[in-house]
């Protein structure tokens, strides 16, 4: 199991950063998605053993990150969101230094640093001091520093923030490359849905310190597949009442004969015809709503937890929304 959390709770003063986070995730590229202040960075730091949770247990790559953080960190790479640079060192020296801090020999880390800087696409500027770098160049260096010791899992905290579109594209391409070509697994923290949609095969959605969804990205989209736009032969209120009695969520459409229906879990579209028949009505038009990840995400962070599709027992149950 890549990551698993059990009842993790962390409070900073009056702020509950992590509220009973539980779950487990597996995958090659996992998005850690949520608005600013959702607890993404705190969760990453718990994985790294940098923050000791007030309660709960975090297991990373099979090791207890709370009890044995140094062992965990040896197998993790981390590119922090903040500056985290040593002024005066060149990009190459920074990456080689990161390798040496992870136990590599000097020559070994220098060779590897060149490899990683080639991979992230930093050319001759690797010999310049890092303080002269643009944001995009330094992000590349940070990713190379996270990869230099060949970790099993690399944590990227907001790697695309502050990048121009071209640099952002290249960085996301790199994540896809790592995912598809034998690189380490990636945990990508971001508040940009598009980044996750483009690069990840699984996602953890967080809000206000709680996990609102954790599972494969496809499962999140599946939730939207059970939502339909319906047009009926007769004015719709009767059918609306009938569907609500069957535990469907129904909202009126733009016309009297239109409804938007979210079916209860496990129900198929045949329920719509049965309900219409029971009310003496008929369905004249049925349109399954597109599986928009954005809608699912907004719904997840909007207060109602998204129910993960029944899948491997490893996937976590969605957490309850925070109270109050």
């Amino acid at each position: 199991m890549l990551l698993s959390f059990q009842g993790i709770r962390k409070q900073f003063g009056n702020t509950m950063a992590l509220a009973d986070v539980s779950g487990a995730v597996e995958g090659r590229a996992i998005g850690l998605l949520g608005p600013n202040g959702a607890g993404k960075t705190t969760l990453m730091k718990v994985c790294l053993g940098l923050i000791r949770p007030d309660a709960g247990q975090a297991t990373v790559l099979g090791h207890d990150a709370v009890a044995d953080p140094v062992t965990v960190r040896a197998r993790l790479g981390y590119a922090a969101e903040g500056p985290g640079r040593l002024p005066g060192l060149s990009g190459l020296e920074s990456v080689a230094y990161a390798g040496e801090l992870c136990g590599m020999r000097r020559r070994e880390s220098l060779l590897r640093a060149h490899d990683m800087l080639d991979l992230v696409g930093l050319d001759e500027s690797r010999y310049r001091p890092v303080e002269t770098y643009s944001t995009g160049m330094f992000q590349r260096v940070k990713v190379a520093m996270a990869l230099v010791h060949a970790p099993d899992l690399v944590l990227l905290d907001e790697p695309t923030s502050g990048l121009d579109p071209e640099s952002r594209d290249e960085l996301l391409d790199l994540v896809v490359h790592l995912r598809d070509h034998g690189g380490p697994a990636v945990l990508l923290s971001t508040h940009l849905l598009h980044d996750v949609e483009r690069t990840c095969d699984a996602v953890i959605i967080m809000q206000s310190g709680a996990v609102r969804f954790a599972g494969p990205l496809d499962d999140l989209r599946v939730q939207r597949a059970s939502e339909y736009d319906v047009r009926t032969a007769l004015p719709a209120p009767a059918l609306q009442a009938r569907l609500q009695a069957l535990h469907a969520e129904v909202t009126p459409g733009g016309r009297p004969d239109q409804l938007r229906v979210r079916l209860p879990a496990g129900a198929g579209p045949e329920l719509l015809w049965q309900a219409a028949a029971a009310t003496g009505d008929a369905v004249v038009h049925l349109h399954a709503r597109a599986a928009s990840l954005e809608d699912a995400f907004l719904e997840a962070v909007g207060g109602r937890p998204v129910v993960a599709a029944p899948a491997p027992s490893a996937w976590p149950r969605p957490a309850e929304p925070p109270r109050g």
């Binding site: 020296e93 490899d115 060949a150 034998g182």
Partner: protein
């Protein structure tokens, strides 16, 4: 006919390649120390500070070598030589050198390593270390090692060098006796280096900016010396224990006279009075300075790094 060997293409720039660590993982302190010194070497102020230290070594070296060469030539010409006086003078040169170099080393270490912890905190680089398999102990050892190499180079190594030169060029009759000066000279240098390193790293852990730490450290050292010596002259002998360099002199002179009538003690009859009366209190004073530095570093790491 044997098949020709296949060509091995090594294209490093294409794609991600895994890597297996060769041998046992290395500990982080040495790379940390080496990198800190590498960065410091790129500053002009570092070279200036080291030049200053070199100048003090040069002055002490000229004094020592001049004395010994004079004795060597005069002994060769048949003039009478007083071995105790010669060795005593050499010891005075060592004592003077350690005393002066203690302060120049304080300036050098402040300039070179003043920001060793403060800059990491200011630049948000602590995460850079602690997101990797670096423990708080590794970090502390790395910083102490990096800072400690400065007085090692400016204080301990020149002391040993001067001593070797003194032994090497002294008249044959004095060579064996000068060997004994190595112990107190080395002890003085090592103790001084230890106190400077621990207090500077502690100050850096408490400070916010490299320059503030450097100036504050040197100023505190000078103020402590000035005020302490002044109070001692005014009869307040307890104030002598607040001056690290005075404590150091006391311990080293006492070391020289331990086990009197030892050979070493007989060689330096002109150093009979200790700067501070109580040797144990002086040693305790030095240890308190060192402990304060280490304590400040430990406290800061516990504050800033949860794990």
């Amino acid at each position: 006919m044997a098949e020709p060997p296949l060509l091995e293409d090594r294209i490093h720039a294409v794609g991600y390649r895994g890597h297996t660590l060769r041998g046992r993982p290395r500990r982080a302190p040495w790379p940390m120390a080496r990198t800190a010194l590498l960065l410091a070497w790129r500053n002009r102020s570092t070279k200036f500070a080291l030049l200053m230290c070199l100048a003090v070594v040069g002055v002490a070296g000229v004094a020592l070598v001049g004395q010994l060469l004079f004795q060597r030539f005069t002994s060769g010409s048949g003039l009478p030589m007083d071995p105790a006086s010669v060795v005593g003078s050499a010891q005075e040169v060592f004592a003077g050198f350690v005393r002066a170099q203690f302060y120049t080393s304080a300036i050098a270490i402040a300039v070179i390593a003043g920001g060793c912890v403060a800059e990491d905190r200011a630049a948000g680089a602590l995460e850079l270390y602690f997101a990797r398999p670096v423990s708080r102990l590794d970090y502390a050892l790395g910083k102490l090692l990096g800072a400690g190499l400065v007085p090692t180079a400016t204080l301990i190594a020149p002391t040993l060098l001067l001593w070797l030169v003194a032994v090497g060029i002294s008249p044959p009759a004095l060579g064996a006796q000068l060997w004994w000066l190595g112990v107190p000279a080395f002890t003085a240098a090592a103790l001084g280096a230890f106190v400077l390193t621990t207090t500077l790293v502690g100050a850096s852990a408490l400070g916010q900016k490299s320059r503030t730490v450097s100036v504050g450290f040197v100023a505190t050292m000078l103020v402590l010396t000035g005020v302490g010596e002044g109070l001692v002259e005014a009869g307040q002998t307890w104030a002598g224990y607040l001056v690290p360099e005075r404590d150091l002199r006391t311990v080293v002179d006492a070391l020289l006279e331990v086990g009197r009538p030892s050979i070493a003690a007989q060689l330096v009859p002109n150093r009979g009075v200790l700067p501070n009366e109580d040797v144990a209190a002086s040693l305790l004073g030095l240890l308190v300075f060192a402990a304060a530095g280490l304590g400040a570093l430990a406290w800061r790491l516990r504050q800033d790094v949860e794990r």
